[in-house]
């Protein structure tokens, strides 16, 4: 009997001891903080030649805005997934091949090639334009051409940058197939950065899924 009472008292005593110890406060500390932004890049002046420094500007900060509106939903139903279109890949030209060659965007503007959504396949309806570009290049043997691949806005940024390049490569392959020397054809991609039409509907999007042709002529000596 007495032992049971003692055990009970032991439990109560321990509970009280625990409760008391739990209230211990940690000592107050003083934290010295370093000046902020000690590792920020120092300003090296305005835009300088590429191989040296990048120019910098300091912008003012702004208030926090809380925008809970939702972006318009662009319905994408049945995304078209395309079969393999480029059975071979021809190595690209080195970047300096046509460095400094004056550009002309107007000569072949009418031959801009358009693509289906999420596709880099050159459609049969577009092939005559590629043939026209090939004809121009054959008639102007000193020129070269840069193919700029573009996408509509309905894709993520890096996916579109990759897709735009494949669109340019697809037309490049077609030009090579038509007898144009690979060294005369460069490619680049702007993803969705350079829409022809800034609208947000299919009428605009179909104008943006395109390859533009930029004629390059050798610099006058």
């Amino acid at each position: 009997m007495k032992l049971t009472k003692f055990a009970n008292l032991l439990v109560i005593g321990l509970v009280l001891a625990v409760a008391a110890s739990g209230c211990k406060k940690k000592p107050v500390g003083v934290t010295q903080l370093p000046n902020p932004y000690t590792k920020n890049p120092t300003d090296k002046g305005s835009a300088a030649p590429l191989t040296d420094n990048g120019g910098r500007t300091t912008l003012p900060t702004g208030p926090i805005t809380t925008d809970v509106s939702h972006p318009p939903v662009n319905p994408i139903v049945n995304p078209i997934v395309n079969p393999i279109v480029n059975p071979t890949g021809t190595p690209s030209n080195s970047p300096d091949t046509h460095a400094g060659w004056p550009e002309d965007r107007s000569i072949l503007k009418a031959d801009t090639v358009y693509f289906d959504f999420d596709s880099s396949a050159v459609k049969a309806s577009e092939k005559p334009k590629v043939a026209a570009v090939a004809d121009y290049l054959k008639a102007n043997a000193a020129t070269a051409v840069k193919i700029e691949g573009n996408c509509d806005e309905r894709g993520t940024e890096e996916y579109n940058r990759s897709l735009g390049e494949r669109r340019a490569l697809a037309v490049r392959e077609e030009l090579i197939r038509l007898g144009i020397d690979a060294t005369r054809v460069d490619t680049t991609s702007f993803g969705k950065d350079k829409p022809e039409d800034p609208g947000h509907d299919e009428a605009a999007w179909k104008k943006n899924r395109r390859d533009d042709f930029v004629v390059l002529t050798p610099p006058a000596k």
Partner: protein, 391 residues
């Protein structure tokens, strides 16, 4: 019988001592099972702070999965003042413990408040993020520049002034340096930019397009998408540019590489049997493996969490959705509308872009609770996108 009863009482007393020996961690937050998108926030209350300190603490803690309530209902009480230096205290009213009790000095109020928020989450066993940085692309009109800022968007600075198209900034882990794409030389080229010295150089300037740089966690390698060999393929090289290795040979698209935190895998967006999918491949080469993301369409733009457990990505269905999937693959969890996620060092907060018409706003999402909030916007810049969180 009597003997057993007495034993039980003594056993209970001894157990109480054993448990109470670790009273400070009696509720172990880090071991709670966290379900992405389906975890309740931790409720806290705040008192005594004013002005910008309140704004900073509310933002910092909301995007780390805390929600604010009254003191009676709160699990933790934040109190203090900011007349001059910020004084901050965090107590646990139920366990009667003090987690933080500090005075902060020597910096602007925002920084002091960020430091207090960091001390609070660290007391719970989490990695702090309130004094970290992000990089992103800022655009006005047709041209853009690369920016860095505090994780909440404050203190932004343009690190380029080229008036050209830029894309895809990526931090070098642990360093004030970035890789990014710039069309400064009339083509999509990858640059390396040392932000401390201001020096930069064209890192990948092969023929065709050079896009989507991703630095390995130990900084020794860079993965990227190149079209130099005629297709858009995944390549990897050493951080000095040497040792270029082609990892994929496929006429279908690869894009958006990212690294596993142990550096053993590169995860990227691919087409697999004509369906868009996430895949992974060893940087040493070999066969790619598919990472299933069942339940959502067209995964792209993956980012691997620093703790290795989850891959966040963009799903493109009817609109764009931020999703997470276990890193081993499985059922994906859609979270919020958005694109291009980048993990914070705490493996629970994501920076991402929210589409608004033709432009983007940057936002931060707490994956377990789905709480999200936009970062501060730069005046005069119409679109901020493609965030990379410094780790």
């Amino acid at each position: 019988m009597k003997y057993i009863m007495r034993f039980n009482q003594i056993f209970a007393a001894v157990s109480l001592i054993a448990v109470s020996g670790s009273a400070y961690s009696q509720i172990d937050i880090t071991n709670v099972v966290v379900v992405p998108g389906n975890t309740k926030p931790i409720y806290i209350s705040m008192s005594g702070f004013t002005g910008e300190a309140v704004q900073v603490l509310r933002f910092d803690l909301y995007v780390q999965g805390f929600a604010f309530t009254n003191a009676a209902a709160a699990q933790y009480l934040l109190s203090g003042s900011n007349n001059g230096n910020l004084e901050g205290r965090v107590t646990d009213p139920h366990n009667k413990t003090t987690l933080v009790s500090k005075v902060y000095s020597g910096a602007a109020l925002r920084r002091q408040a960020h430091a207090f928020a960091d001390d609070f989450v660290q007391a719970l066993g989490r990695k702090p993020i309130a004094q970290t940085k992000i990089a992103f692309k800022g655009e006005s009109g047709r041209s853009g520049e690369i920016y860095i800022a505090d994780f909440d968007g404050y203190g932004s600075q343009a690190v380029t002034k080229d008036n050209t198209i830029v894309a895809a900034p990526c931090w070098v882990p642990g360093h004030m340096a970035l890789y990014y794409v710039s069309y400064r030389l009339n083509n999509a080229d990858i640059f390396y930019h040392n932000l401390s010295s201001g020096d930069r150089k064209a890192f990948a300037r092969y023929g065709g397009s050079n896009i989507s740089p991703a630095v390995s966690p130990d900084g020794s390698k860079v993965a990227m998408i190149l079209s130099k060999d005629g297709w858009t393929d995944l390549y990897v090289c050493n951080s000095d540019g040497s040792g270029l290795k082609r990892l994929t040979k496929s006429p279908q698209d690869e894009s958006s590489p990212c690294w596993s935190p142990d550096g053993k895998w590169i995860c990227y967006a691919s087409k697999d049997k004509e369906r868009r999918a996430l895949s992974k491949i060893s940087p040493a080469g070999g066969e790619p493996q598919r990472i299933p993301t069942s339940g959502v369409l067209s995964p792209t733009e993956p980012d691997w969490s620093p703790d290795g457990k989850l891959i966040a990505f963009t799903s493109q269905g009817a609109g764009f959705t931020i999703c997470v999937v276990p890193a081993t693959g499985g059922t994906a969890t859609p979270l919020v509308a958005g694109e291009d996620p980048s993990w914070a060092p705490n493996s629970r907060t994501l920076a991402y872009g929210r589409r608004q018409g033709g432009h983007y706003a940057l936002s931060l999402l707490d994956v377990p609770t789905k709480q999200y909030k936009d970062v501060s916007r730069i005046p005069g810049i119409s679109s901020q996108s493609q965030p990379s969180w410094a780790k």
